[in-house]
Symmetry: C2
């Protein structure tokens, strides 16, 4: 059991020892730069754990598959950072800041191509199936990102639209990682789909927790700017819920704050938090998150039926569930 | 024979009747917008001709493969236009101008993913091989684009570096198209590689002709800004050759012009053209182009040995060779 944990933790080592090689250097350096900025490597670890829960023994092919998932994640971060004009990622300059936008676009393109290269170069017999799953996921992530960019100018947003946006933008990637891990281990499609559902529910809970922490977490807890979504007037589920719950002057005050960007945002953050709590939007969000977590737990029970690795997945799940950052 | 010509010409019809479908609309509209801006559809036609020269009968799968090649070409145009800040493509606004940069990046990303989707969804038995060829080519095009972007600030450029840049940026795509067409027709690897070499030599000749026309063609002939490369101080093969051939005051004059951007460029264009001719750089370029054409012709003879479609490929070849625009 401890051997398996070590195996999954060794992903970082695998990544560091498998940089992308090629020329010109100023195309490949930014690719390796973003890949090596660190992070929790959650998605490749989920893939490895799904594989281990069925097959036990990890091998070169499944590490390579895990690397393709982490590469895709970094591709999307790289291009998202350009779209968001983000100057900093994990405490370091973003690629378009350290190099330039043109190189950042190209480095992202090449990372996306390298995802396919990695999958194609595994010796796995069901490559076509894996490539297919990957491709469906990749398109959905693009769709989710565009939906997210559409939110600020969209007239009406329903809860379902918001949830569909985070499903596509965030949740299908861990879902696909888990399914690919199961498929690589030769799981039948039905079981692989339970892993997928687990990842989807986990991803939804993860993102809702992210939204919660962004609004109610302290910057000491999260390491991020406090109240970032509030400052940016992001129409998250908290806002959508509060807007339809509050009435009269309270509703007007909420709308006032979401139409302004005061230079000193402390008062705005404090007031919006109070309005969200008054509308019990925090409870609404926490309940919704708990629903997704409950579903995720049910999925684990089925997916890992009798497997010694259920413990590892549950440990990872608890880690994600209780995280503050 | 005429049936085959019709089949390859019907690619435009196939493209128009197979738009990319999905939501949100402002992700899929720009994808279909650039795909439907027109163009000669040279690369998919080469794929279809290579296939026909072996198999005769076209089918749905090979059209879909041809569409993936045209989709890749459009992906690279879309992202290149962002990198080059180009406002116009084929007389219409570029995607980042008509929508915005963020959407243009995403639409390009999704086009690249759709290339893989198209290949994966063909029923061809050697999909893995086709995907592999495609992936090698795709990475090379990124590398070539970065090499091109590096030229303006690069200390020394050798002819071989310049040729390698256009090989990667421009020539590997038609080469890959032809090889994929041959592989789809179940050609053995040796024959498929001759198609590849034909495409590579054709692509090199094509790009050198492009460079020649940019400098010596009139805007009536090319439909483009006259002397664009000269105005932009692009260090093409003409410049590299003239720089090492000219001496004394002539060399100094060339360097002077390539370090200035006068508002009225007519005199600059006229003088640089004269210096290029004095150095016989035009002859150098034309000879080099003729070399690639000769090699391409040798490749056709081998690749299409005994095939009735050799005539079609030769016709296409002549079209490219004698083009003025």
């Amino acid at each position: 059991m401890s051997e398996n944990i070590v195996a999954s933790d060794s992903f970082e080592e695998y990544l560091i020892s498998h940089p992308f090689l090629g020329k010109p250097e100023n195309l490949y350096n930014p690719m390796n730069y973003i890949m090596q900025l660190g992070g929790k490597r959650m998605r490749p670890k989920l893939l490895l754990l799904a594989y281990q829960s069925i097959c036990q023994e990890l091998n070169k092919d499944v590490y390579q598959l895990a690397l393709s998932i982490e590469t895709f994640h970094n591709f999307s971060l790289l291009h998202d950072d350009i779209m968001d004009n983000a100057p900093i990622r994990r405490g370091k300059k973003t690629v378009h800041e350290e190099w330039n936008t043109a190189t950042a676009i190209l480095a992202g393109d090449n990372l996306l191509i390298k995802c396919y290269d990695l999958i194609l170069k595994t010796g796995l017999p069901n490559k076509a199936e894996l490539l297919n799953e990957f491709t469906i996921m990749a398109t959905q992530v693009c769709e989710g990102q565009q939906m997210d960019m559409n939110l600020p100018t969209q007239e009406l947003i329903t809860d379902e639209e918001y949830l569909q946006m985070i499903r596509l933008k965030t949740a299908v990637l861990p879902a696909c990682a888990l399914k690919m891990g199961a498929l690589a281990a030769n799981a039948d499609l039905e079981r692989a789909d339970v892993f997928y559902d687990f990842g989807l529910n986990l991803g939804m809970a993860f993102q809702l927790q992210d939204d919660y922490l962004d609004t109610f977490g302290s910057s000491e807890e999260t390491g991020k700017q406090e109240g970032g979504d509030i400052i940016e007037n992001k129409r998250t589920l908290l806002y959508l819920h509060a807007l339809r719950t509050l009435t009269g002057g309270d509703k007007e005050e909420l709308q006032y704050w979401f139409n302004s960007k005061p230079e000193d945002s402390n008062n705005k953050i404090e007031r919006v938090r109070a309005l969200f709590k008054q509308a019990e939007s925090d409870i609404f969000l926490t309940d919704l998150k708990a629903d997704f977590e409950r579903h995720a737990l049910e999925n684990i029970e089925i997916a890992c039926d009798g497997s010694s690795n259920k413990a590892h997945i549950l440990a990872l799940f608890d880690l994600l569930k209780t995280r503050k950052a």
